[in-house]
């Protein structure tokens, strides 16, 4: 039994989640402050992968980063980086595809905090960065955890977008969801079942873990 698709999937999900945490926190914070047209456009672009067919996103990424022309050619010639049919391509696609799952919960949670929390911190002489790290972020822990787990779990389940930009190269781009599809194509239902069961169990445990953790923080309005 080849478990490399499972390890590759976990590696992809971990790297994507980490990158999105680094990108998503400041971006969500910036989006939570004010509602300019520019911010609305950026937010719409970030949200697009939620409603767009994954194959459409994958198709555009494939065209944009094709090493034959444009940006893809320039990246290959200048930095020797190739995004198409490579692991870094999967990471790029996953970051774009899972971004709304990281940004959405964090942005909503920040917007729901009373404005006076940040204001109180400012009047104590604290900078915006100090206020974000010491006051705002610790008070949105459940949403932060939800965002991390959703991003991770969503990346585990990617199919269309990774297939388009990564293909099906063993040990490089053959993630678990593609391995399931490939096994079914080859009528190997037993292998497909093992991959599916591992993905299902892993995702279920993750989601239930978050619900249990957040249950402690959630309060009924009748309490």
């Amino acid at each position: 039994m080849d478990l490399s698709p499972i390890w590759l999937t976990l590696k992809l999900a971990a790297i994507t989640t980490l990158l999105l945490l680094i990108i998503g926190l400041p971006l969500a914070w910036w989006l939570s402050k004010g509602r300019s047209i520019f911010k609305i456009i950026i937010e719409a672009i970030i949200t697009m992968p939620l409603v767009l067919p994954p194959s459409v996103l994958g198709f555009y990424l494939l065209i944009a980063f094709s090493p034959q022309h444009g940006v893809g050619k320039w990246l290959l010639q200048t930095f020797n980086i190739q995004f198409v049919f490579s692991f870094q391509g999967l990471v790029l696609a996953s970051v774009i595809y899972s971004m709304p799952f990281m940004i959405g919960p964090i942005k909503s949670a920040l917007q729901q905090l009373p404005r006076s929390l940040a204001q109180a911190s400012y009047t104590l002489g604290k900078t915006e960065r100090q206020t974000f790290l010491k006051v705002l972020l610790p008070n949105i822990k459940p949403s932060l955890l939800t965002a991390i787990v959703l991003t991770f779990a969503h990346t585990l389940g990617e199919f269309g977008v990774v297939l388009m930009i990564g293909g099906n190269i063993p040990n490089i781009t053959r993630v678990a969801s593609i391995a399931v599809y490939d096994s079914v194509e080859n009528m190997d239902y037993a292998t497909a079942n093992v991959y599916s069961l591992i993905l299902f169990s892993f995702t279920f445990v993750l989601v239930i873990g978050v619900f249990i953790f957040n249950k402690a923080h959630a309060k009924s309005p009748l309490e």
Partner: protein
Amino acid sequence: MISIDIEKKLKAYSGQQVLKVNEEFADGSITKIYGPSGAGKTTLLNVIAGLVQPEKGVIKVDGITWLDTNKKIALSPQKRMAGFVFQNYALFPNMTVMEHLQYASNDEQWIKRLLAIGKLDTLATHKPEYLSGGQQQRLAILRALAIKPKLLLMDEPFSALDAGMKTALIAGLKLLFKELKCTVMIVSHNPQELEGLCDGEISVNQDYST
């Protein structure tokens, strides 16, 4: 000396309302700000602290210009460092009583003294959700004082305190204000509440225009 001359549009159902204030406050004075609900008392404090920008105005504190809309000067709240007691307390749910004060100040002796004045020394390790309304309000006052402000803005600071606690706290605060040479502005809609504490008062009434 603090001089304030500002104009700020207020959101209201009954047409447009404009908050106009033109006052001077002596150093070390304690002024009661009163007026009907919706008159703009809280907005005035927000404008002074730099949390809200007025359409027009000048604010000078001890010769330093905090705000001059003509000259496009508007110091940030961080630079103004006006102590602010929020009406909703604005306590940080993730911090204990002690952590609130340590976030604002590194002076352990000062923090100890504040805890004693606010009678919160036995609750230092408690988070706001485990404090009563009155205890939360006292913590909000202590936190604002922790930065040793030259100007203290208080929005309904004693509304959740019982009579005995209010008298004791006000006596302690009076001494602190004197020691800090702190100018204080206190918003209240209860004229009797601050008797014996304030040495001046201003009334806030908005102008109505369409």
